[in-house]
């Protein structure tokens, strides 16, 4: 194909660029005004990752917020984990993300707060009715980066131990008051699982074998194991790590837990009685309650079992952040902070409905909350919760737990023996340490 002769007076590059820029300007000018509020009411855009059953509770709270304040809240739920964080970072890097977003507090540093988030002034919070004294210091301190506040914590959530009371009673592992027997050490707990397995005929516990990172971190931290990262390497306690991995290996090998089970199958196996217990996040409570109403499931929850001398468990906090804005409308900013305050002050339902432990002390200290069941039975998780290692590729849904979790899925499935798995996770970690850090 021959090129046609260029038309007389071909468009110069400068003219083209001017025209293009003008056209682009026209297009973009349309986007900026969406946040500004339509018809007098203020609109607040919120992004969250609560794709699980806790999302339904949040939606109910949003309706109450809109009813009480008249603010139009536009909440969007993205797929949990990487898809959400990718969206958040890309939106924030353009300055056109939502007004407020939920994150896991363990991911705060990996979100490069100084460039991707807008700092929150303490005065703003006080005006909205919150007080720094309303939070436990260790969680509150995690919300800062370079001495500026970037997050407001909503809750603490962690792996807990659900048990089916009907099955556990038949297995004889309940106390007279109907609570689960407290065990000490791996062997005692395995005995309990064996008794439960005899009743169910399938599994003792219906573990999520894709969530191996959470279980590993809980059991590794129960032994006081540390995972400290440096510029060019890391320190991991091989013996303690091996103990934790060996626990997974033996549990699956003996059939006390499934070999392959994702989140959905894990919950289903507990609901249909294939497993009498399950160590999974407290957020599954909504799902199990719904199942109880539909088909009957007598269950309760307690803390992570004591495998290595204590009941530490893996967990995190949900928190609110304000993604970076190119410009804030004063009304929207105020409504956004008011929204955060509303969610915290009403987080009783967040705890009661979604099983999370509210971070807002006036709620958790209230007698009403103290009596809440089954939350009271696992209230100790707040003190036992273990956050992920402090490095830019760690934290909920980050690369470290993701890739290490794949290795552990192989441990449960029987493909990776503990020594192989240990070597593999050290390889994974070393690869990540060697990556150029895109944050600092």
């Amino acid at each position: 194909m021959r090129n046609p002769p260029s038309p007389p007076g071909a468009l110069s590059r400068r003219a083209l660029l001017t025209g293009t820029a003008a056209a682009a300007g026209l297009g973009l000018a349309g986007c900026g005004s969406i946040t500004g509020g339509i018809g007098g009411g203020t609109t607040v855009k919120q992004w969250n990752l609560l794709a699980g059953s806790d999302g339904a509770i949040m939606t109910t709270m949003h309706e109450q917020f809109m009813e009480e304040t008249g603010v139009d809240l536009k909440a969007t739920t993205f797929a949990w984990g990487t898809p959400f964080y990718t969206k958040l970072v890309m939106g924030a890097s353009g300055g056109n993300a939502a007004d407020v977003a939920t994150i896991h507090l363990s991911r705060l540093q990996s979100l490069s707060p100084s460039t991707l988030l807008d700092a929150i002034e303490i005065d703003e919070l006080v005006d909205a009715g919150l007080d720094p004294e309303d939070f436990t210091p260790d969680i509150w301190d995690r919300c800062f980066s370079d001495d500026r506040l970037y997050a407001v914590p909503l809750d603490t959530h962690a792996l807990v131990n659900y048990y089916n009371r009907t099955i556990c009673e038949q297995a004889g592992v309940l106390n007279p008051d109907g609570t689960l027997l407290e065990t000490h050490g791996v062997e005692e707990y395995f005995d309990l699982l064996r008794a439960v397995k005899d009743v169910t005929g399938e599994y003792g516990t219906s573990l999520d074998t894709n969530a191996g990172w959470r279980q590993f971190w809980a059991w590794y931290r129960q032994q006081d194991g540390e995972w400290i990262f440096h510029e060019d390497g890391f320190e991991l306690d091989d013996d303690k790590a091996l103990n934790a991995i060996d626990t997974m290996w033996r549990m699956a090998d003996e059939g006390l837990c499934p070999r392959i089970s994702d989140g959905g199958a894990t919950a289903a196996n507990f609901e249909n009685g294939a497993g009498g217990l399950v160590q999974v996040g407290n957020w599954e409570i909504t799902r199990f309650r719904a199942f109880n109403e539909a088909q009957g499931l007598d269950f309760s929850m307690t803390e992570m079992p004591d495998f290595f001398g204590n009941r530490r468990t893996q967990g995190d906090c949900h928190a609110f952040v304000l993604p970076r804005h190119n410009s804030w409308n004063a009304d929207v900013r105020k409504a956004t902070v008011d929204y955060v305050a509303f969610m915290l002050q009403n987080s009783f339902q967040w705890g009661a409905g979604a099983g999370h432990t509210p971070a807002y002390l006036p709620v958790t200290d209230s007698p009403e909350y103290q009596d809440l069941e089954p939350n009271a039975e696992y209230s100790g998780v707040v003190d036992n919760v273990q956050f992920d290692p402090d490095v830019w590729f760690a934290g909920s849904a980050a690369r470290l737990p993701d890739e290490v979790g794949r290795v552990f899925a192989g441990v449960y499935s029987g493909a990776n023996d503990p020594e192989t798995a240990l070597a593999a996770i050290k390889d994974v970690a070393q690869t990540m340490v060697e990556l150029p850090n895109p944050i600092d």
Partner: protein
């Protein structure tokens, strides 16, 4: 080509007084046609040309999605890319996908086109059946196929187990996700090649076959000596389009074997680029990787250009 027809028209209308062309342009008659293409050019420039140039620039910097200041680092990203085993593995996975998917997509596309072309009464039904999957969105395709591939309770395993072939495990797709994605892709995108072949078949004059009939050729001889040679150009086109499409594999693989909840460890190349850039924030490195894939595709396109233009002579 559109400028070719637009310009003479512009020349004749621009002489009229109420010309919309800007007055300051000295050669007024040349402007009108360009206004017609401006919307396209603007979008093309903003969303294609500019990002491409920016990407090339970023590939020499440590550009991060976090928006921290950009630093020129020369060839570091490129050196890292060629020495990154994960990147090379994913590039190989993309190549392997291309090798596995292209032959069935071309051969089956031709076979089904021959079938639909020959069919008299059922022609419309076959055309519909073979092309219909192509119009289904990728998210729906992957969801349906994932259900069928489910290890427990999925369609395949259910019948494999029932027929005593593979027990409770899908024997063909045990080792990795690649085979499953290839099968799904073949089912999904076959319709496009089928359509190209069908259109080409309809351009072969019936007289040629008539002449062959008179000479006593059987149908296999007609296929071998008439149909296939006359489809050569289409075949070349289909193969090249297919190679390029397969090299760009991302959607199906990401949705079936890549998401956050899945435990597949392999990536295809675009997925690795996506992970490096948008998940890992390293836009500079991801840009360098993108240009490597770009180079591969350009090479294939050039080969196609050579092959096709030689035939034309």
């Amino acid at each position: 080509m559109s400028t070719d027809t637009a310009t003479p028209e512009a020349a004749s209308t621009a002489d009229r007084p109420p010309s919309p062309a800007p007055a300051r342009a000295p050669k007024r008659r040349s402007w009108l046609g360009l206004w017609f293409v401006l919307p396209f050019v603007a979008v093309y420039a903003v969303f294609m040309i500019w990002p491409m140039l920016l990407g090339l620039y970023y590939s020499f910097t440590d550009k991060s999605l976090t928006g921290r200041p950009v630093e020129w680092i020369g060839l570091e990203n490129w050196i890292e890319a060629f020495g990154d085993p994960a990147a090379m593995d994913s590039l190989w996975n993309t190549a392997w996908f291309t090798i596995l998917s292209t032959p069935p997509l071309v051969v089956l596309g031709l076979a089904f086109a021959l079938l639909a072309h020959r069919a008299r009464r059922l022609g419309w039904f076959l055309r519909l059946s073979f092309f219909a999957p192509f119009v289904i969105p990728v998210s729906v395709v992957t969801m349906v196929w994932l259900w069928m591939y489910q290890p427990a309770g999925g369609l395949f395993n259910h019948y494999l187990g029932e027929w005593g072939l593979g027990g409770d495990h899908l024997w063909a797709f045990q080792q990795d996700a690649m085979g499953s994605v290839v099968v799904t892709t073949v089912w999904w995108t076959l319709g496009f090649n089928f359509l190209l072949y069908l259109a080409a078949l309809q351009t072969i004059p019936a007289e040629v076959y008539e002449a062959a009939d008179i000479d006593g050729a059987n149908s296999l001889q007609k296929l071998w000596s008439i149909t296939l040679p006359l489809l050569k150009r289409t075949t070349a086109l289909v193969i090249v389009l297919q190679l390029i499409a397969s090299l760009r594999i991302f959607d199906q693989y990401y949705l079936m074997a890549g998401g956050a909840s899945n435990l597949a460890t392999e990536n295809v190349f675009i997925q690795y680029i996506y992970n490096s850039g948008f998940v890992g924030f390293r836009i500079g490195y991801a840009s360098a990787l993108s240009y490597i894939l770009f180079a591969c595709i350009i090479v294939i396109a050039l080969i196609q250009f050579r092959l096709l233009s030689r035939r034309e002579d």
